[in-house]
Symmetry: D2
Subunit: 324 residues, 4 copies
């Protein structure tokens, strides 16, 4: 387990795949990333990572709760200590995870979303998959459960990279990797069978450019699964919050379903289909012991949960599948 | 007049202005531009440019018809020849111009637009002005008439650069310059008092990114004058043509006036004001001897000029002024 | 054997070594190399490479004659054909090789040189070795025979890369690699235990710069083995041929042994020792069936083999060992 | 005199010369130079520069003592203060200068060297001249006296740039410029009629590369004037000091005159001629009030001025002229 090197593991993973053609790009990206500090806490996170128990895990399962190891794999002292170390990586947003029988109850029940979409997305068996904006990587493990052969998650949030790294150190043999960079940093590989992008589009001020970039990652006859905020509205309608939306800054275009379909077609996607639509519930997104800040309930109008605190329609999210 | 060099003239022009800080960027841009051929006809245009009469012009005026020289400045043989040379630079879109008493009747009566806005825009006297998407440069001359001290137009269309160059060779002393590049190529100078951008925004698939780029060119307490297609619609409305719009490809977001205002504010502009709104008439945009392709009348529904041939609302254009 | 990929093999080889830190540099170098054609015959060489018999070799030995496979590994038809294919890769300079029992009698008996130096160089067992100017790679195999663990040869001559590739395709399991680039292209790795550089220095017009570059490849307490032309002369003496030397263009500094020692010390080497000195004989360098151009005998004064045809002292070569 | 900008002055100077083609390169070089601090004292030097008297100089002459202004141009208080400010720019190596009647007695009597060569070098009248390693710029002024039309000095030593800037601020109309960079930074302009390089070659560990770079600056039928240390020796001889030479570090190749001639011819110069040779005297190079460190007399063997303190032959300098 010592000296686990995620960079080398990624290279080894891609050497026999179409991604190998981009190895020089990946190596430049990683060299650049490693040359700078990206967050004030990064050194702490890096150091703590080395303090996790060095042990082999005897059990792992990537079901609704992504479960890695059991309490039997570590001493009870170690388990106790582990809980406090895991808290150093707060806030925990996407999950749930269970590590050595410690339950990490994340802000999001990301399993809910997976349950809603899993039977409507293309078969992932043996596929090469990219997840753009993968957060802690929860869905990467679900994609593995669904049979994907090679899985790459990217997310520029440094904390999420370290959250993922905690789990990955016990799963070295799994062909799941994480690059802590934004989509802009990747070359246009056209090498993935399936690209996921959930919860990102409304944060982009250039949605068409972003959709084009997603398309440039997908191979011929591949698929995009994209989830974003939408509004119930006419084909011509798009909501752009003046300041914040449900307290989030940096929210730009929230299109109607038809407008989003048009965007997807405009940049060249085919067979666009909405596979689920769902008002986010306060059961799915809420504060927990592992994410103690405000959460959805605080961002809705207390008198009318159909509106955000700013008076906009409450968060309605939909997932679309589209083909290249 | 021999060996007129627009590059040196531009450098001389900026050496004593805030733009001087960006001289290295400009020189790299121009070096790069000169290193490649941008259009199959470029060599022809370049060569023809050297065949224009070498003479001093005895008259010039930058009124509704931008007038340079008179027939007395050239022999009648030369004038005859000149007409056929000017036709090599067709299609002529923005004007009208009169060169040595030859009238160039362009597709657009760009003087109409100037008449509608000229009394509603900030005083240009002594100002440094940038015109993004300046076409043949017609409005650059009008800005000079209005007193601007230094005027730079940019437009990536190679033909327009050569159309402008025809006139500029007779106006070497005028502090008006043209860089044949898109806005993306410029560094964020923050050095212009006033930036114009007319007829460009709806061609961009990333309108917010583009508005930010425009803002990055404007100095503190400067102004943007932006003209674009809009729709008569609700604040939340934006039209995105599925394929073509009035036969134009590459038309993306056509917002309502309120949506455009919101965009401008979202990227940080203040005091946004719509100064004119106008359905384009077939008197303002039409085929002529100097632009013999189809024009507006062919792009409208023949039975209902309130609709484009594709069934969208007919072109409605508005101009906004906003401050930084 | 199909789809043998030397690039991936190199990456796999370095992933667990100090060179791994330079993987991004190597990948950029190779991407760049692959993006261009380097020689008019390159496509032919590349194509021919795919026509070699696809077979496993049952024997290999890296002694004085580097021997790969036997006639029993291929049909006699194939062997016949093979000889003519190998001739497409002429001239063969460094060897000798024996491939499927075809003897490639190269211009140089490079085994002579190896015999002179092999007992005077540092033990290569388990070492990481770089050979700068490795030609066809003959000595790379000898270094392997001597126990080196990882061996990289570099040489910018495209033909030599393909000569090496012929052998390498039958020796995929051997940790021997070839980068077809000059020393300038490598980053300063400081990662090799031993660096060889034989027959290069006199072709450099900047010998000190070159020695510094060699030093920058060697790890702490590592060794350089450098062979070059010298003159019998005083410490202050250096011969610089006015035009050609033994018909070679691009010969610059030919120092006395003491001058070379001073250069090595000047750039920071220690424990400089000359381990052999030898007038090149016409037995060691001569025309053969596999190199039909003129060779040494033609470059010497016919009446006095102590002089070159230009009147300079005949080629005297010496090998030095030095430490970092 | 306020806001004197050497960068703009340089651009203006080259806009109408063959150097104009390299303006983008110069602007990138200068932008890069300005983006960093090059010496711990640089800010002080920069600030002091603004404290020099703002006055017009009533006299200037570029004879043996380069003389700028007279005591009548400034108040006696100012003159007093000026002396102490000038001392902030010590050590003063090349001169002599006289500024507002303050004599700056520099370490080198650079006028001696000029006297030895001035009648043997090509006519500088109307020439474009480059001086590589120009120091404080003393010889730039002498070249102007000799009629050169445009003069550029380059030297990477930051102090020398500021010494030059002191004088240049009073000589804005003179077409003399200084770029504080090494020769490597310049593009190969081939644009200078005459290139000087005095006192640099022996500091280079790559003399042939350096001579090639010098050649790449010279136009067709242009001239090089190069001065360097030589030894009295045979054509094959070159002295390379083991450690220091006359206490200087970084001394590499000191060739015999014939060897230097060969180098010049080897890189393509023609008509090589030695125009002077001279053992440096302790009258020409010595400590003064303006350079209080050790000087030549301390670097020679006290018992035998024909040897350096290290036992090498004492400094013998020669100047060569060569043509392209």
């Amino acid at each position: 387990m010592n000296n686990y090197d995620w960079e080398k593991a990624l290279y080894l993973s891609i050497l026999d795949t179409p991604l190998a053609a981009w190895l020089s790009d990946f190596s430049v990206i990683i060299k650049d990333w490693k040359s700078r500090i990206h967050h004030a806490e990064q050194n702490k996170w890096e150091k703590q990572l080395k303090k996790f128990p060095r042990t082999e895990v005897t059990t792992q399962s990537f079901g609704d709760t992504v479960t890695i190891g059991s309490e039997n794999d570590v001493s009870s002292n170690a388990q106790e200590h582990l809980r406090s170390v895991l808290k150093c990586y707060m806030p925990w947003r996407k999950g749930p995870f269970r590590l050595f029988d410690i339950d990490i109850d994340t802000e999001w029940r990301s399993d809910f979303k997976w349950q809603r979409i899993q039977h409507h997305i293309p078969d992932l068996k043996h596929k090469h998959v990219l997840d753009v904006g993968c957060g802690s990587g929860y869905h990467l493990f679900r994609m593995r459960e669904a049979g994907a052969n090679q899985i790459l998650g990217i997310d520029p949030t440094t904390l999420f990279f370290y959250q993922f790294s905690i789990f990955k150190q016990y799963l070295r043999q799994e062909n799941i990797h994480f690059l802590p960079v934004p989509l802009e940093s990747l070359p246009a590989t056209g090498a993935f069978d399936v690209v996921f992008c959930m919860g990102v589009l409304y944060h982009r001020h250039d949605p068409l450019t972003f959709l084009k970039m997603l398309k440039s990652q997908i191979s011929k006859n591949g698929s995009l699964i994209i989830e974003t905020l939408i509004i119930d509205g006419e084909p011509n309608e798009v909501l752009m919050p003046r300041e914040r939306y449900a307290q989030m800054r940096n929210v730009y275009f929230i299109p109607s379903a038809e407008m989003l379909r048009l965007w997807l077609e405009k940049v060249g996607f085919k067979d666009v289909e909405m596979i689920e639509k769902n008002y986010t519930s306060t059961q799915e997104q809420r504060s927990t012991e592992w994410m103690t800040n405000h959460s959805l309930v605080d961002f809705l109008n207390p008198d009318n949960h159909k509106l955000t605190i700013e008076g906009y329609p409450a968060p309605l999210r939909a997932t679309f599948v589209a083909s290249t």
